[in-house]
Symmetry: C2
Subunit: 187 residues, 2 copies
DNA sequence: TAATATATTGAACACATTGTTCAAAAGGAG
DNA sequence: CTCCTTTTGAACAATGTGTTCAATATATTA
C-alpha cells in the first residue's frame, strides 16, 4: 500500500478516535474528521464511502487484533496467567478494557454507539461459538444460537453497566459477576 | 388542552409511527413527518423541539399505558389469566408485543432504535425493581441494581433476538426461554 | 354572538452537512 | 527523469435544520 494512503488512513483513524473521546458518534460530522485529520475533503471520500464505513473499518481492525490475542496468536500479554477458567476469553477481554490499550472503551462509552455495539456482539458471537461450552441441561432447552446470543449480550450489558457506573469495580469482580449470571448456562 | 393541539399532536404521532414502519428512525427527516402529518413546519417545532423529543414523548405515552396495564390498573385484558408466575409481568409484556396493539414492536424492529431501547430499559428497570424478587443466593453476591439491570437487559435482548429471527416462536416459548435464562436469579 | 386569546400556516431565512467533480500540485515507484 | 497514483481545495447541487413573521383559522369565554 502506498505510503501516502497509509498516512492518510491512519490520520483519519486517529482523528476519529480523538473526536469520539470528546463527543457522540452521531454528532461528529465528516467535516470535523477532515479538519482534525488535516486531510482534503476529496481524500476522505476516496478512502471511506461514509462515516459509517469508517466506523466499520475501525471496528474490523480493532476486533481482528483482539480476537487474535484471545486465540493466543500474540503471546506478549502479561495478563495471560490470570485466565483460570476454561473459557478465560472473557477475563482476557476485560483486561483489554481495563488497560485501554485499544480503543474499545472509548467506542463503548460514547453514545450513539449502537452500530459499534452490534459489531461487538457479532464478533463476540463468533468467539463464543468457537470457545464456549454450554451446561448440559440448558443445551436441550433452547436453540444454540439463542444461548450464544445471550452470552454475548450479557457480556456487553455487563461491560456497559460497569462503564456507566464509572468503572469502580475491579475487573476480577466484574468477571466474577459475569460468570455468576451465567451459572448453569456456561459449563 | 386545546382541541387543535390534540389533533396536531396526534397527527404527528400517527405520521411518525407510519414512517417508522417504512424506514429507520435515523433516516426519517422532520420534513417527511410534516408532509405525512400534513402539518405546517412551524407547527411541528411548536410541539416538539427536535425529532428526538418527539420520540421521547411517544415513548412516555407508550410506557405509561403498558406499565398501567402491568400494574393491573386497566383490567380489560383477556390474557391476564395466562399469567401463571409470581412475576407474570414479563408474560404480560410479551403478549403486548404479540398483539401489537401498541407500537412497541415497530419501534423495536426499526434500526437506529438505540434511543428507544434505552427508554425501554429505563422503564423496565422501574418495573423490575417494584415487582421482581431475586433468588436468595444471588442477592448477596452482587449489587441489586446490577441484577435489576441484567434482568431488564436480558428481556430486551430476548425480545430483540425473537424479532430478528422473524418471530417464529410462540410467546409462551419465548417466555419459557426467558425464565430459563434467569433460573437461579429470579425467585 | 362578539371579543379575545391562542394555534396553525407557509414562505422565507441563514446555516450546516453531505457526497461529487475537476484540474492542479505533490509524492512515490521504477 | 518519467510515469502513475494520491492528495488537494474549491466549487457544486441537494437536502436538512431550526427560526421568524405576518396572515389566517380556530377555540374559549363572556
Amino acid at each position: 500500500m502506498d505510503r501516502r494512503q497509509k498516512k492518510t488512513r491512519s490520520a483519519i483513524f486517529s482523528a476519529f478516535i480523538e473526536l469520539l473521546d470528546k463527543k457522540d458518534y452521531g454528532k461528529i460530522s465528516v467535516q470535523e474528521i477532515i479538519d482534525e485529520a488535516d486531510v482534503g475533503r476529496a481524500t476522505f471520500y476516496m478512502h471511506f464511502e461514509t462515516k459509517d464505513f469508517l466506523l466499520k473499518a475501525l471496528c474490523e481492525e480493532l476486533f481482528e487484533h483482539i480476537l487474535d490475542c484471545s486465540n493466543g496468536k500474540s503471546g506478549n500479554h502479561s495478563h495471560y496467567s490470570s485466565c483460570k477458567r476454561q473459557c478465560g476469553a472473557f477475563s482476557h477481554l476485560f483486561e483489554h478494557l481495563k488497560e485501554n490499550d485499544d480503543n474499545l472503551l472509548k467506542l463503548l462509552s460514547s453514545r450513539n454507539n449502537e452500530l459499534f455495539v452490534s459489531y461487538f456482539k457479532e464478533n463476540l458471537n463468533k468467539m463464543v461459538e468457537e470457545q464456549v461450552e454450554f451446561a448440559n441441561k440448558i443445551d436441550k432447552l433452547m436453540p444454540k444460537e439463542f444461548i450464544v446470543n445471550h452470552i454475548s449480550a450479557t457480556f456487553v450489558d455487563t461491560v456497559m453497566w460497569w462503564i456507566k457506573g464509572g468503572k469502580k469495580e475491579s475487573t476480577d469482580t466484574m468477571v466474577g459477576y459475569f460468570y455468576a449470571l451465567l451459572d448453569g448456562i456456561i459449563k
